[in-house]
């Protein structure tokens, strides 16, 4: 029982889940809405609105059975048409949902009866159920989609009360929530506090109970306070040094490799994350069973890098501009670290911060050299395939990497019959990713929340969601 006051660091643009793009928005999405499935704390897919599901043998036809008696906050019963409408909305280009590409695979969908919905896929896809755990794929009432942005109606544990842009979102307990006895809290207040110092100060004074995504710089301070605690979980959220494989000089694999060689990932993790992350090679974090343990995280080797550069025709290095999106502290630090670490290799880097909207429009996928980052994805396939397959949606828009061998490995992995086969294939893919270095992924980041000792039952989620169903406050 009680009210939980939490803070997020940036304003929410929208409360319409299909259109959400930022972690702080997903926080709200998981409190207000549900998907057909949910990714658990163990990264396994679990039933949510769908009680159970089955698929045809060719993995192309998927049928989901909805939970009975689920009500939207507006009192209406959830039915299969809502599911169809929600997904159709995501598929609509004009909605501008980033999840759209996920559902391009869907050939058709149909409500078989009020509690059953069936999807026909274009190609076989084993991970289809996980897709519904994706952040944007929330199920919304089909008759209230127009007001979702400012007055969201969902089926989640908390009901929307008010949203003051720039200030706060207030939610209250959903009395009709389908999991009996949950949620425990009466009210959730999400305050928007952009300043790290203000967040931490508010946490120490008890004005806040929880700081979502605690600023890395403040961890020590929170740890030192006996009335506070820090809860952290490894994720597969990563930042990357993106090199456009079609733009000179990065069209030469030797140059990319040289950059990768010069970068000391351990040092970078220290600089950018203060050690709150783990060096890795690809979006697959070292904690994952598929992680290729044979690949070593090498120390930075500027001399080797220099040699490679000379081979590639840059004996005295080159000068290049590295773009970083403004306002993302870790990525800015990553950029500066890259600048420093490439200096001994003879590469002169000019760091340039650009406002985020400019970054989206003019830098991402267009510039040759920049820092970017991505949230963890629900499955290995969704975290790897889109970036490394030559037809992968992110790949084409990010670094345009293409290697038939990689395509073969990834296509194979999608249809792998056993875990072992999949592990082997992904192991090879990781090695190839290191070899070709389409870009450099230096680390995966820990997700850290700061909270008051009065908060019970909270566990940080590796997808950076905020799961407050079991949480209570003294």
């Amino acid at each position: 029982a009680g009210t939980l006051k939490l803070s997020v660091d940036s304003n929410l643009n929208t409360l319409d889940p299909a259109k959400m793009k930022g972690g702080q928005e997903y926080v709200a999405a998981y409190l207000i809405f549900n998907g057909l499935t949910v990714i658990g704390h163990d990264m396994k897919v679990k039933p949510d609105l769908a009680e159970r599901w089955e698929h045809s043998d060719d993995l192309k036809s998927w049928t989901f059975h909805l939970r009975k008696g689920v009500k939207f906050h507006n009192g209406r019963d959830l039915d299969a048409e809502d599911v169809v409408a929600s997904i159709a909305r995501i598929q609509d280009k004009a909605t501008g949902s980033t999840a759209r590409v996920n559902f391009e695979i869907v050939e058709s969908m149909k409500a078989l009866d009020p509690l059953t919905v069936q999807f026909q896929l274009k190609t076989p896809y084993a991970g289809f159920a996980e897709l519904f755990g994706e952040r944007q794929a929330r199920i919304v009432p089909r008759d209230a989609v127009d007001s979702l942005a400012s007055k969201p109606v969902g089926t989640g544990p908390f009901e929307f009360v008010s949203f003051a842009p720039g200030d706060r979102v207030v939610l209250k307990r959903n009395p009709n929530y389908f999991e009996p006895g949950l949620p425990k809290l009466d009210e959730v207040v999400m305050r928007i506090l952009p300043e790290a110092a203000a967040q931490v100060a508010a946490l120490t004074t008890g004005e806040l109970d929880l700081v979502w995504n605690l600023p890395l710089e403040a961890i020590d301070k929170v740890k030192a306070d006996t009335k506070l605690k820090v809860d952290s979980v490894p994720t597969s959220t990563w930042d990357g040094v993106i090199m456009n494989n079609t733009v000179k000089p990065f069209d030469d694999a030797r140059v990319r490799k040289a950059v990768a060689m010069a970068l000391d990932k351990q040092a970078i993790t220290q600089i950018a994350l203060f050690g709150n992350g783990t060096p890795t090679h690809s979006p697959i974090p070292p904690s994952h069973p598929y992680y290729n343990k044979d690949l070593k995280i090498a120390k930075g080797d500027p001399a080797g890098a220099k040699k490679l550069l000379a081979e590639a025709g840059y004996p005295s290095g080159f000068e290049v501009t590295l773009y970083t999106p403004a306002g993302r502290a870790t990525r800015e630090r990553l950029g500066l670290a890259v600048r420093e670490l490439l200096k001994p290799a003879g590469i002169t880097v000019n760091v340039q911060r650009v406002p985020f909207d400019v970054f989206l429009k003019d830098i991402e996928g267009k510039a040759g050299f920049y820092i970017d980052g991505f949230f963890s994805r629900p499955t290995i396939d969704t975290s790897f395939y889109p970036w490394y397959h030559s037809k992968g949606s992110w790949n084409t828009a990010l670094w345009s990497y293409s290697n038939p061998k990689m395509d073969q490995l990834l296509d194979g992995a999608r249809q792998a019959k056993s875990e072992d086969e999949a592990r082997t294939l992904y192991g090879q893919a990781q090695a190839l990713a290191v070899e070709d270095s389409p870009g450099v992924i230096p680390y995966v980041i820990n997700h850290i929340n700061g909270l008051s000792a009065r908060v019970h039952g909270f566990h940080s989620h590796p997808m950076m969601f905020l799961d407050l169903r079991d949480v209570s406050v003294d």
């Binding site: 304003n11 793009k21 942005a149 842009p165 720039g166 506090l193 952009p194 406002p355 400019v358």
Partner: protein
């Protein structure tokens, strides 16, 4: 006076029309666009295009402007593209919060600044004067964001006396509301006080040397009357102007202070809009800020006239 006010209002309207065109053109020239912002990372061009069409961003500029201006004339500030909400309520809320900040901070600044300025002028060259000057220098020398950080540290983190950020509506109780205002107000006061005090001091010194002050003394008026009744009223004129400009400034958003104290005022709204490239929101915000600024100036001029009957007279005949 009425004629003067009318003329000024007409000018104001004119300035706003020019502003609206300017804002519109200038914001169009800003790089980045809202469609790709909404579409997000790696949206395909068709998606961006689809969103543009939906938002009417593909129309010729004149049409867009016409629609926008017509809306404003009907009191409709438009809809935020990102927030997908009507702008007016959001803007008014932020404006109200900035207004609270401005009124409270400027009241303190006016009272303290004028008081200090008068004191320094009267005790010119003495220790008091030098102390006021010293304080002024401190206020001017240390940038507002530095003060803000120090205040957060001292009162929030160490002493845990005051909330360091955010805003609580009065509805939730006067005390929390006031507590949230203290630090931003103090920062603003530190930032603005020095200028007001120094300005008041210098105009007060000028006025204290005028003939009418001398004549008041020749009438045997005690110093307190000379200073308060005869000198101060005349010395306040430049101070009023600066206070009005400061008022416009705070209403227009003190981005840094609002950010550090997480105060959801106009400054952060504008910054938000700019960062999201939400053109209707940017345009509406700037227009309202400009209008507020111009109005503040107009009020200052009218106040000026109120304090100085000579100007009032000039206005009547002008």
């Amino acid at each position: 006076m009425l004629a003067y006010t009318l003329t000024r209002l007409l000018y104001l309207a004119l300035v706003l029309v020019v502003m609206s065109v300017l804002i519109f053109l200038v914001t169009q020239a800003m790089p980045g666009d809202v469609a790709s912002m909404i579409a997000g990372q790696f949206a395909s061009p068709e998606v961006v295009q689809a969103i543009s069409v939906k938002l009417g961003l593909d129309q010729p500029l004149i049409v867009q402007y016409g629609r926008w201006a017509a809306g404003i004339l009907h009191g409709d500030l438009g809809r935020s593209l990102v927030l997908e909400q009507p702008i007016a309520p959001i803007l008014m809320e932020a404006l109200a919060r900035s207004l609270v900040l401005a009124v409270v901070a400027l009241t303190v600044v006016a009272v303290a600044g004028i008081g200090l300025g008068v004191l320094a002028a009267v005790r010119r060259g003495k220790l008091t004067d030098q102390m006021v000057s010293g304080i002024s220098y401190l206020g001017i020398a240390v940038p507002d964001f530095f003060w803000a950080i120090v205040l957060v540290l001292v009162f929030g983190s160490y002493m845990k006396l005051l909330p360091t950020g955010g805003y609580t509506p009065v509805a939730e109780g006067v005390l929390p509301w006031a507590a949230h205002l203290v630090l931003p107000v103090v920062t603003l006061v530190l930032m603005l006080l020095a200028r007001i005090a120094r300005l008041t001091r210098s105009s007060m010194i000028d006025v204290l040397q005028t003939n009418y002050v001398k004549f008041a003394r020749a009438k045997g008026m005690p110093e307190s009357v000379v200073i308060l009744r005869h000198a101060l009223k005349n010395a306040l004129l430049p101070t009023i102007t600066v206070l009005a400009i400061d008022f416009g400034l705070i209403l227009g958003g003190v981005v840094v202070i609002e950010t550090i104290f997480s105060y959801p005022g106009m400054g952060r709204l504008l910054l938000f809009a700019i960062q999201r490239h939400d053109l209707p929101l940017i345009q509406a915000t700037i227009l309202v800020v400009s209008a507020a600024y111009c109005l503040a100036n107009l009020v200052a001029d009218l106040l000026y006239a109120f304090v100085n009957p000579k100007i009032r007279h000039g206005m009547r005949t002008a």
